[in-house]
Each structure stands twice: as structure tokens, then as C-alpha cells.
Amino acid sequence: MLIIDCPFCGPRDEREFEYCGPYRERRPDNMDNLSESDFIDYLLVPENPEGVGQEFWWHKRGCGEWLLVVRDTRTHQILSTVEADAE
């Protein structure tokens, strides 16, 4: 079980969180300059690291914030937890 150290609520167990997929950039603004294949690549091809990767977790049953968690997929050790960029 993961213990995620929410920057707002402190360490809480995995049950309070919803996994929301690997990190990816925000959807590009100028879609006109983007080719169809690049956009499908953006939509479908995720990061799949064997090792340290970034992913989104939503503190669904807590403060409701989205967090960016850096986690090692081989050991499930969490290296850092910060608020996801809310631009």
C-alpha cells in the first residue's frame, strides 16, 4: 500500500487517492499546427518507465487536489509529492 505525503494534508494511505495516469503535458493550444499523427501520439502513447516516473494522483477522499507524484515503478517507493501544476 502506498503512503502518499499530500502537501496539504500530510501522509495519507492509498485508499484516499485515485490514480489518474502518467504525467503528460497539457493539451497543446494551437491544434492547427499539430499533425494528426502527432496528436494521436499525444493522446495514446504514455510514458511507461521501468524506474522513476511521474504520475498524477487525485486526493479524491481528502482535500481534492491533484498531485504530481514521482514514484519508482520497480519498488513503488515515492520520491516526491508536489501539487500538480495548475496553470
Binding site: E14, Y19, L44, P46, N48, E50, E55, W57, T73, H76
Partner: protein, 416 residues
């Protein structure tokens, strides 16, 4: 290949079973092959066997990182079934189930295949509607999926004491899939390895592939292993959860994510369940092995994972769900647990495809690939030998994602 029979068993008993010939032959790793198959699991070995047997490709090697039968072919719940939703999937899995039924004889290896029906326990109305839809589609393509009453479920599964009218989720309906079966996972790996080896396929264990190699013109050149470079014009990747780790080395990007799927095994007890019980609303399924152990499968770990352990939360949820329906299992002790790394495509359907790199083929996205081993091997061998997809898997190619033509396949444990 020494033929296994009652006669050979009796004959070898005279020498205290000391003179059995090895099931597969060990070779020295050569520099060149016609086809390199990465991954000596069920799919890799089956592909090698059908390539040699049907397509007459002789110079094949299977490179396995660990030992035969030590990967995901042993990290599953051996459930064989063909109750799928999509018209692309059903004929493929029907073929696979049929092939499994004749496989012990074909491979001359006792797979302990046991056809025993799968019963789905339905506890919510949305699931009932979904499962009825599945029934109608399956009926068109010739797989069997029949409704049965709650009292019939309880007659066939006497230990199913939970799910009564006063419970959180009362059982409202059931479905029986008579083709459902289980068999022995090691025997599938060993049987295919032995049959492939007798056809001249070289199997190299403890030969980890570190990266793929490309020629200057972009075509595949071979692989780089811990024992040096091995070259071939055709390289097939059949490595389950680690597919992207290999394809990343030649810059091929695939729509796959890897997850950990775990299962649990109880202590052996006397026979009490002779069907595969699936509870899609609770997210647990189980069967009893010939040895008497209960094999219990649950939901995947949230978050991508390459760890082979199990998550305590998944364990609690799976066991808790099982005890809701089978309260008497509370007394059982669990002996073993394991997790396997499986990769999943955005639509949860498999990928058997050539790639943008000429000569590189992949079979991936097998979320529950054990049941697909015979047909997966057959169709993948066809693709490698002829460079055209097999009739049964022509929809499972990578180019479906270019047009977003998903084959959405919601299952027991998929999160699609």
C-alpha cells in the same frame, strides 16, 4: 523427441527413471538466425513451435531472460475462456480454446486440461445488461453463454453461501460459459518448448536481451544480449509487460502501459468447487486446482508497475470480496501470492502486428494472455512467416490506433 506413453513410463521404471532424455536440447548461441523470438513464455514458445511446424522455418532461436515457465506463463490464474464482447475477439478466443482442447495430444504432453465451465455471478443491474449484450454477440459467433437461475448457481456451487437477499449486493442472475477451462501452466510452457526443440528450435535460457539493433537503412539487424550480439532479419518481441522497454531502444513508441496483476493461492483442500467462479461486480474470480488449492485472482494495482510483488490493498479488497460470497473460506490459509507485469493498450485488446521498423514484429497488450497462447502463437507465426496478418488477428494491428479504431474489450479486471 522421446514419445511419452504408458509404454515409455513402464520401460523407464526398470531403470528407476534415470535414463529419460532431456525434454529440450541445450545449444551454444550462434551468431545468426532466420528468426529471433524474444521471450520464452507461452506466446514466444508457441510462436516458435508453429513457425517451425506450419511454416517450415528451421533456424529459430527463443531468447529467455530467466528460465522456461518462470515468467507470466506461471504468473496467471490459468483461466481459459472465450466470453468476449467484440466480433474481432470472439472468433480468435474460440480458436484458442479449441486448440487448447487438442493440445495435450498434439504436443504429447499432459497439460491436465480440464474443461469445467465458468459461472459469472451477477449482482448489479448494469452488469446484467452488459452481460446480456455479451450473450447476444457471442451467440452470433458461436460461443456459448447461457443465463442460469440463482437457485441453479447455488446448486452448482454449494459453498456459495453469501449474496443472499439481506446482503450488500444480492445475487440477481448468473451466466454459464461451458467452454471455460483450466489446465497446468508449467506443462504448457514445457510442452511447447519440448515440441519446438524437437523441430530444431534453439531455446536459450538466461539470455537477457538488452536492446534491439537496427541497420543503417532502418531495418532490424538483430538483438544485443548479455551473451553478445545475435543477428536476424526478423525479430519477434513476445515479452509481455516489458515490451516498451525493448522497443524504446530503437525509438519505437507504443501505446502500452504496464501494470501489476496479482493472484493468490490457498492451502489445498478437498474438492468443493468444480467450476471457475467469476464475480465481475466484486472484482474477484476463483477456481480450484487439481491439487485442491483455490486460485484467486483480483483487480490490478493502481498505477503503473514493474514490481512482481502484490499490493496489500489489492489483497485486502480481493479477499474481502471473496468472503462476501464465500464466508466459509475465512478459515482457509493462503499459501502463495504473486504479481505479474502485464501491458495494456488503450482499448484493452491485444496487438499482434508488424511495426514501422521492417522485420520487427510485436505481440503485446495481452491482458489475460494465458488463454490466448495457442491461437496467439499460431497467428503471430503466420505474421512473421508471411508478413501478412492472420485472418483471425487482422484487426489487432498497430495501425488501428492511427485511426482510433478501438476494439474496446471490457473484462473482469481491465480498467477500460
Amino acid at each position: 523427441m522421446e514419445k511419452y506413453s504408458l509404454y515409455s513410463l513402464v520401460r523407464n521404471s526398470f531403470t528407476q527413471h534415470r535414463d529419460w532424455s532431456p525434454a529440450w536440447i541445450t545449444h551454444d548461441l550462434k551468431k545468426n538466425y532466420d528468426v529471433i523470438i524474444i521471450g520464452g513464455g507461452g506466446h514466444g514458445l508457441a510462436t516458435a513451435y508453429y513457425l517451425a511446424k506450419i511454416h517450415g522455418v528451421a533456424n529459430i532461436t527463443v531468447l529467455e531472460r530467466g528460465w522456461l515457465g518462470g515468467g507470466n506463463v506461471a504468473r496467471n490464474t490459468v483461466t481459459i475462456r472465450s466470453n468476449y464482447l467484440r466480433q474481432e475477439s470472439i472468433p480468435f478466443f474460440i480458436k484458442s480454446v479449441e486448440m487448447y482442447e487438442g493440445l495435450s495430444k498434439e504436443l504429447n504432453f499432459n497439460l491436465m486440461h480440464s474443461r469445467r465451465s465458468m459461472i459469472d455471478i451477477i449482482q448489479t443491474y448494469p452488469k446484467l445488461r452488459e452481460i446480456k449484450r455479451k450473450m447476444y454477440v457471442m451467440d452470433i459467433f458461436g460461443a456459448t453463454y447461457k443465463p442460469i437461475s440463482v437457485s441453479e448457481i447455488r446448486r452448482r456451487i454449494p459453498t456459495l453461501a453469501g449474496g443472499g437477499n439481506d446482503s450488500r449486493l444480492p445475487i440477481i442472475a448468473g451466466m454459464v460459459h461451458p467452454e471455460g477451462a483450466v489446465n497446468r501452466h508449467d506443462a504448457v510452457a514445457w510442452g511447447y518448448a519440448r515440441a519446438a526443440s524437437s523441430l530444431g528450435v534453439e531455446i536459450h535460457q538466461n539470455t537477457k536481451v538488452n536492446s534491439l539493433l537496427r541497420n543503417d537503412d532502418g531495418t532490424i539487424r538483430g538483438v544485443s544480449t548479455v551473451k553478445g550480439d545475435v543477428l536476424a532479419d526478423r525479430v519477434a518481441v513476445a515479452v509481455s509487460g516489458h515490451t516498451t522497454q525493448l522497443t524504446d531502444t530503437v525509438g519505437l513508441r507504443l501505446p502500452l502501459r504496464s501494470f501489476n496483476l496479482s493472484a493468490f493461492v490457498s492451502e489445498p483442500v478437498k474438492p468443493m468447487i468444480d467450476v471457475v467462479v467469476n464475480c465481475p461486480d466484486l472484482g474477484v474470480y476463483l477456481s480450484q486446482t487439481a491439487k485442491g488449492e483455490l486460485v484467486i485472482g483480483g483487480a490490478p494495482d493502481p498505477g503503473q508497475s514493474f514490481r512482481r510483488g502484490t499490493n496489500q490493498l489489492v489483497f485486502e479488497r480481493t479477499v474481502g470480496a471473496m468472503l462476501e460470497l464465500f464466508p466459509s473460506f475465512k478459515k482457509l490459509k493462503l499459501l502463495r501470492q504473486w504479481g505479474g507485469t502485464v501491458d495494456i493498450a488503450p482499448d484493452a485488446s491485444p496487438i499482434i502486428s508488424e511495426t514501422e521498423i521492417p522485420g520487427l514484429y510485436i505481440t503485446a497488450g495481452w491482458w489475460g494472455g494465458y488463454k490466448a497462447i495457442p491461437a496467439g502463437g499460431l497467428t503471430f507465426a503466420n505474421l512473421i512467416a508471411t508478413n501478412t496478418p492472420h485472418q483471425l488477428t487482422k484487426s489487432f494491428t498497430l495501425d488501428r490506433f492511427e485511426t482510433l479504431d478501438y476494439i474496446l474489450e471490457p473484462g473482469t479486471t481491465t480498467r477500460v
